[in-house]
């Protein structure tokens, strides 16, 4: 039974045969609890019959509400309703599942003059345990900067860095910050002040690494990025603080 997330666009393909050839035809695929209550539809898809099987595509945006929906196809030839079909398998629109932990950078706050030699900022991070059990995770924040022309893919940099971090843990290289959250607990963490040569570990609990790759070129605009990860490879959305000239 096909299972899809709510509101995603999917395309169904069905072989349709209409004889004789040369007739203006239309077909509509729709989902619903019954054939009188369509909740998602491809609309009428036109084609000209060839007398043989034709692959007809039906793009459909899945319903927003989770549930099980029957799949129907109505077939028209020369403007006349020919037949209605119901697929032998229903479509299941799944209930969205939250990841066990969600990690979000709520804000990045610039401190001081971003045109100075070091651009300092702090990250406000929200960590949420979406499960019904107490969970312990180890997290860290990664930050980087780069030149426009060379470091235009900070996400890839973060992923590569995270792989290194996970491979080194525990106890080797930069330590992780261990965090225990009770069921459904959500907390906010404020990072230490960051500047371009690394995190200042003012809490003495964890370190926020900064390993920018490549050569630093003065006078070239840099883009500053931050993201949060856990040691299971889950990564929150990376966030850009912006760009600045570094000298």
């Amino acid at each position: 039974m096909p299972q899809f997330a709510p509101s995603v666009q999917k395309t169904a393909v069905a072989p349709i045969t209409v004889a004789p050839a040369g007739l203006n035809c239309e077909a509509e695929l729709f989902l619903g609890p019954n054939d009188a209550t369509p909740v998602a539809s491809s609309g009428l898809r036109p084609f000209v019959s060839s007398g043989g099987a034709q692959q007809v595509s039906f793009p459909v945006t899945m319903p927003a509400s989770p549930g099980t929906y029957h799949v129907y196809i109505d077939l028209y030839a020369a403007g006349y309703y020919m037949a209605g079909y119901q697929a032998t398998e229903d479509v299941v629109v799944q209930t969205p599942v939250l990841p066990p932990f969600t990690m979000e950078i709520v804000s990045l706050t610039s401190i001081g003059d971003k045109y100075s030699s070091y651009w300092m900022f702090i990250a406000n991070v929200q960590i949420t345990n979406n499960t019904g059990q107490t969970q312990t995770r180890r997290i860290k924040c990664l930050a980087t900067y780069g030149e426009y022309y060379r470091y235009n893919d900070p996400i890839r940099w973060f992923q590569r860095t995270l792989e290194n971090q996970v491979a080194q843990s525990p106890g080797v290289g930069v330590p992780w910050y261990e965090l225990t959250l009770s069921p459904s607990q959500s907390i906010n963490l404020v990072s230490p002040q960051y500047y371009i040569n690394g995190w200042r570990d003012i809490f003495g609990t964890y370190e926020w690494p900064n390993w920018p790759l490549g050569a630093y070129r003065s006078g070239v605009p840099k883009e500053y990025w931050c993201c949060i990860t856990d040691d299971e490879g889950n990564m929150g959305l990376a966030k850009s603080i912006g760009t600045a000239l570094s000298y």
Partner: protein, 113 residues
Amino acid sequence: MDRQMLQMDDPVFPPSASKTAKAPITVMPAGLSCQAELFLGTSPTNKAATSGLIPFTSTGAQQLISLPVTMPAAGGVAYHVYLDVYAEGYLLLAYLATEDVIIPSGSVGPITW
């Protein structure tokens, strides 16, 4: 009797649909007991659907005769359309429409997402 060609429009109908054809028929003189039959088939001797004999009395002028037909259930076929007119039991006119009636057929195979 050679069959004559007869003009006709709208040749596509769904299977088993009930339709009524109307044909202007002129039989002279007036007062004759007449019948008309419209039928669909792949040949004059192979009737797939028919109106049956529809009786009327000639007026000597043109009469619009209604000929109800239930379309064949078998689709995917182009059927010839025939019209026979009888007067006092004798076959007077035999027509073949210039266009066939098309009964489409359709089928839908398995859906792939």
